[in-house]
Symmetry: D2
Subunit: 353 residues, 4 copies
């Protein structure tokens, strides 16, 4: 069997290039596209057809070899059609895993084993996506994916490739997904496109909202960067954009928004006041009792005793309103908002109740 072309006659393999200083160019990642051809209509690694399962394994094997050969940094598993259209015709226990047998686990295990065998040191990445084309994808979001990786004992073998549009389709903010990945030790790469807040499908637009890109970069910095991962631009040109220059403008805009976000995030972190606000909120845990709790040494009897000793707890304001104010200040940090604009006594709308 030679590797055939997919349904559209192109891009079985896809590589996101990381262009390094000088002339050394190698792919950010490689992947096998396992969802366009009709053979994948019931999934690839979770197809109900053994033949498709084996076929997919062969494709991933070859794609991984090519990625390795080209010096790729990572290998990405795109969920594609790993999911279901209706639970009525699906054995989710067999596909996704119940207690003993689960074909998805076996597929991912085999991939991790093969990676080591060929000496490929790149990170294996899974890109969570909740829906589309199926009603339900097994890698719904970061937490769902973390759950099956833990269940399979594969939590140390994979990381995640987070996409903002997939985040919002699963009901989360992009920042939430990035932080969930990061706090589970799984933030490996970012697919730098976003969606439309009023649209219920994957629009794969370039990210242009600087408030959002600032939050994205906050997570990246807190993660100590993404290496060996990075950002890949997977956004689609719209059908309505047909000029060659649109391609450039789109990428420039997307990268520009990320660059601005990085600057803002750096400023926010250097300034420290947002972090200080958060630190202060939790300072009651920076005490002897708090240390005891975090060490797992505060049982219910002890805590009840403390609660009775202390009486009604005092609960300070969460200062939520300060957060967007700070964001605003930093977003516009080059336009030092010195004077109050609107809120002079001579100005418009103040409410009374």
């Amino acid at each position: 069997m030679k590797l055939e072309h997919s349904g559209r006659g192109r891009n079985i393999f896809r590589f996101n290039y990381l262009i390094l200083q000088g002339t050394k160019i190698h792919p950010l990642w490689g992947t096998a596209q396992l969802f366009v051809h009709p053979r994948f209509m019931h999934g690839a690694a979770t197809s109900s057809e053994l033949g498709v399962y084996a076929y997919s394994a062969a494709q991933v094997k070859k794609a991984m070899e090519v990625t390795h050969y080209l010096g790729g940094e990572n290998y990405v598993f795109w969920g594609g059609r790993e999911g279901y259209q209706t639970l009525l015709n699906t054995d989710m226990g067999r596909e996704l895993g119940s207690f003993v047998n689960y074909i998805l686990a076996r597929f991912l295990e085999a991939a991790a084993t093969y990676k080591k065998k060929i000496g490929f040191n790149g990170t294996l990445l899974i890109e969570p996506k909740p829906q589309e084309p199926t009603k339900h994808q097994y890698d719904w979001d970061a937490a769902t994916t973390a759950n099956f990786l833990r269940k399979y004992g594969l939590i140390d073998e994979f990381k995640l490739n987070i996409e903002c549009n997939h985040a919002t389709l699963s009901g989360h903010s992009c920042h939430h997904e990035l932080e969930t990945a990061r706090l589970n030790g799984l933030l490996g790469n970012i697919d730098a496109n976003t969606g439309d807040p009023q649209v219920g499908w994957d629009t794969d637009q370039f990210l242009t909202d600087v408030a959002e890109s600032t939050m994205v970069m906050l997570s990246v910095i807190r993660n100590g960067g993404l290496a060996p991962g990075g950002f890949n631009f997977d956004a689609k040109l719209r059908r309505e954009s047909t000029d060659v220059e649109d391609l450039f403008i789109a990428h420039i805009t997307g990268m520009d928004a990320l660059a601005r976000g990085l600057r803002n995030a750096a400023k926010l972190i250097e300034d420290g006041s947002l972090a200080e606000l958060v630190r202060k909120r939790y300072q009651s845990f920076d005490t002897e009792v708090g240390a005891k709790i975090e060490a797992g040494k505060a049982d219910f009897e002890y805590l009840e005793k403390k609660a009775m000793e202390w009486g009604e707890p005092k609960v300070p304001s969460a200062k939520q309103c300060l957060c967007p104010e700070w964001m605003l200040l930093f977003l516009f940090t080059f336009t030092p908002c010195s004077a109050p604009y609107f809120y002079s006594p001579y100005n418009p709308a103040v409410f009374l109740f």
Copy 2:
């Protein structure tokens, strides 16, 4: 009957004050709150109970008189519970209007008549809201409200009070609702609070996204301002924000975001390049044939003749990608993005396929 307090023992009437230069203060608008007390459980102007309908009329009458007495600029109808929980127990034809009788129309007519009778010159405003507390509110969005106003023959008697959070709950962008109101000649006032894009209920947050506030202000400028309307701040302090200063910070932030939006919108309009992009897109209509079409003089035979004469039409790019780029430039117009940041040949992720 004297006007009683509502269920919570406060704010039957509510006024949003417009504070003018000097000491003259008068309300931006007044309203009657017709949804907290259990008597309004089936609605007010669309209650299935005649007694509640009459009671509501009396309340609106009194609130309108008080608004007039205080020199109010507008009077607002809050939809409250004008809608249904289930169509199964609802006679929507009777409440909202089918062909002959409809109690909502009669209520609004009576209000318009009474307004003239007492010499109150303020604008009557309806605030569209899709849901909450009922499953469906009759004034779902701007277009829905315009439809029943037209049907009732009341399109010239009312304007709309648009809220960004209600816009997004109805599946539209805030800008869409503002433009829909404006293009129907109905943009009267703006309720300046927004929602959370991942949350399916009315969070009534202060608007802090400057891209959004820029779009809001674009509509305001195109509308020639809002007078006699304005912006009112109806955002809630969060339960978690308990300090007095939170109240100030919240309002300052909200007003600040609007002020920045106004500056951006003014710059965008002065600069003219976005308008020029739009003008160019439609320039094929600025021709003899276009004029004929817009004058309603181009029938199907004529158009078919033209189509055959012209052959396959040429369709240029929509330049969608330029729009967010321009927005970005203007949003950060005080930070002249002189140098390309990211998109040097030495920089990260470019995709190939």
Copy 3:
């Protein structure tokens, strides 16, 4: 110009056949498909390109002629790409209508005029759809479409073709859209497919929920039937369903669900208890005062006088809980459904493509 094939090389014209008893077969409706070919990328009747506008007019003209020639009952306007991807590059006032010129209105007017000219007596139908492929379609839902038809003075020239999946994508129940169309005098035809409640795009599934089909049929009966309209089956076979028999099973299931719904609705209406519950809720309006209100003769002074006379109104329970109970009873106790109903060769809607 001869009429070319669309992008996919097929189905410019599409007819939904109404198969009548005996051998007389004529289309339920015809339409022109104006969205697959790239020339329609900015819309057809609302394209920013005059050439596309003319081309579309020529297509509709021809399709209407063919429909008329074949004895079609209706002609449908599929919104397709009449809408926008971003308001930033769109002149909505010019496309959809502000005060003077609006190209969509002129297109629909020309269609209505041409229809009369060729003696085609079929109903002109618009099928509301909120989104997809564009972010916003101008015919968002029934109320939105009614609004522009009223504004254009075309409310008597068009009816609506309601699809349950489009209803739910616009945030409404299917029953709501049907009732809104009916109460505006616009219910002309039903596109009998539904969606998945957890999915944010048009899945075009066959309707299989009998509770939903019962509600659908309640509206049909209240409307006095749909003639000259009917039901058309526009549901897609899934990519995963590849057997020929799937085609039959799918249609049988869809028709079966509708048939059961019709029986249930008839029973519900014959039984009368649900209608009685609704009638009783509004009985306070079946009085002298109520008649005065509905006749527009109850002004605010009169209503205030009544409200003071009556004091605190008594408000009975809405009996919402009874409604689903009744539905349950009717869904299950009156349908000893033994035989296949609808899918005889003599029965309604089968689609051809």
Copy 4:
């Protein structure tokens, strides 16, 4: 400290009673309500205030003791406000867990330890809920909750209480959440209320859709029942339903729908044809190669060899269309439902508050 009443002056503790045949009555579960009082405004087990954390521990301790004393079958953790309003002011790593310290884990550990200490053998249940009142609840859905239980090493100490309305608010079907819980070994109890498919908040309605209740009962049967769990009715009476009889009708309807669902599910399972359809879909795995895969002995070289041997795989239809057809048949042909089923005095779940 004595246990005080919550903000509303009632229901600190809440018990769902399981009324058994005869006179033996004991609670299905007990819980502590940790979200109404303002002290819980930042959460309970994930409050940023140590005092609140201790206070909450004391409350849970006491509620667990009382539940035990009353012979309760389970103890439920209601998420309440365990989550965040904005990530900007939240240390999610500290609250939910990153690598070392996480206060939520410590709280749940302490609960599990205390349970054993007092000899309470009931199951500890967590009720996943995605949002409301906070923007994000940590126990978003079944998979998310499973993930942190695994991370904390507490996967064997807790089970889940699944609610259909919470399922749909998190973007999943109810059946999906039940199956996810079941396949993770976590299905412990069901909160038998559902939501409105067009509404984005928790409406807590009684389940009346028999197709949905059939799916619910399929999961229950596959789970071998729910004991020691059960169904609890947590649905709210609507503000608009004010008669005493509404309370009965609502419960009867809800139980009736579940009873019909149970009958349908039993028939579906006895009939076996749906299971057979599923079995057949996966039969290619019931082979030597399939066994090898499921045993984890099929590496990528082996699978590639097989794929080349076999060539292009044959992929049969998924027969999705058959599934709803079967559902329709079973919903309607096997239930000559003559008598009231469930709501005898000797039967299950009635709630007290």
